[in-house]
């Protein structure tokens, strides 16, 4: 199983290639959308690159839960409700949702994802 640092380096390469960002911009705390400028199509690009780089399969909705965030069951008045937060936690235990829970507005979700979240996600996939 690759070490956390090895995973970080490969995630970093994938993000540099997918987003055209500089090496030093990809820090663990950098946010995918706010700091690195990722747009929705970039998440598909990142999925392709992570799958190839790590030899893993990433089901649709696992890295970016667009189905939960657009569901009337899980979203009320533009905010993810308690059931939605439970669904996100169950689906994505690798994400730290602490900050998001303070203001679970749907539009805040992409802004809270960090490089470290990507690393933890890959760790969860290669660890099994």
């Amino acid at each position: 199983m690759p070490s956390r640092d090895e995973i970080f380096e490969k995630v970093k390469t994938a993000l540099i290639d997918a987003l055209g960002v500089d090496d030093d911009e990809v820090t663990p705390g950098a946010t995918m959308v706010g700091d690195l400028g990722a747009e929705s199509i970039d998440f598909l690009d990142i999925v392709f690159r992570l799958e190839k780089s790590f030899g893993i399969k990433i089901p649709r909705g696992e890295l970016f839960p667009e189905d939960v965030l657009s569901s009337t069951e899980f979203v009320s008045n533009g905010k993810v409700n308690a059931a939605g937060l439970a669904a996100l936690k169950a689906r994505m235990p690798f994400y730290d949702l602490t900050k998001f829970e303070q203001n679970p507005s749907v539009q805040n979700f992409p802004n809270m994802l960090t490089v470290e979240d990507m690393v933890r996600y890959v760790q969860s996939k290669v660890g099994h």
Binding site: D17, A18, G20, I41, D42, L44, D45, V47, F48, E51, K52, R60
Partner: protein, 166 residues
């Protein structure tokens, strides 16, 4: 009128790769001002040719049942300019294909010299996902005929592609 940035396919292997040809000619009006006395094929239009080569390969791979839209150009690099008289060969390869999108790599060569290369991402959209209908079926079929896809196309086992009955 449509923009046609490839003239024909020379190779087309379903789900795998395709090679298309583009002859650059001074008869093309867009070269007259780009640039007077020193015409060269804009690399932005070479990307269009790359996208048409890869886009038709992808559209065929998913039976033309979704709208294949160029969503992202990643890492495009060009090494020299193509000029009137040059024949550009585009080689597209499908690296990965999912229901929602595809990841392709395309190169352009002139006289076997690498002129450019790019990674192209296509989104596969359902009707109603914000993109108008791109083609009428008969119009698309005419284009595919013009591109000789059903003359030279093969499936992965080497059998000729069947021309669809639209």
């Amino acid at each position: 009128m449509r923009w046609f940035w490839i003239d024909r396919f020379d190779e087309f292997v379903r789900n795998r790769h395709a090679v298309a040809v583009k002859n650059v000619s001074l008869a093309e009006e867009h070269l007259h001002d780009h640039f007077p006395g020193a015409a060269l094929m804009p690399n932005s239009l070479i990307v269009e040719g790359m996208a048409q080569t890869a886009g038709l390969l992808v559209a065929d791979a998913i039976d033309y049942n979704r709208r294949v839209v160029l969503a992202k150009v990643a890492g495009a690099e060009f090494y020299f300019d193509a000029v009137p008289g040059d024949t550009i060969r585009f080689r597209a390869e499908i690296l990965d294909l999912k229901p929602a999108g595809s990841f392709t790599k395309v190169s352009s060569t002139v006289d076997e010299r690498l002129q450019g290369e790019a990674e192209l991402f296509f989104a596969h959209l359902e009707p109603g996902e914000g993109v108008p209908k791109l083609f009428e079926p008969d119009e698309l079929l005419k284009w595919l005929d013009q591109m000789h896809i059903y003359d030279i196309g093969r499936d992965e086992s080497g059998q000729p592609l069947q021309r669809p009955d639209w």
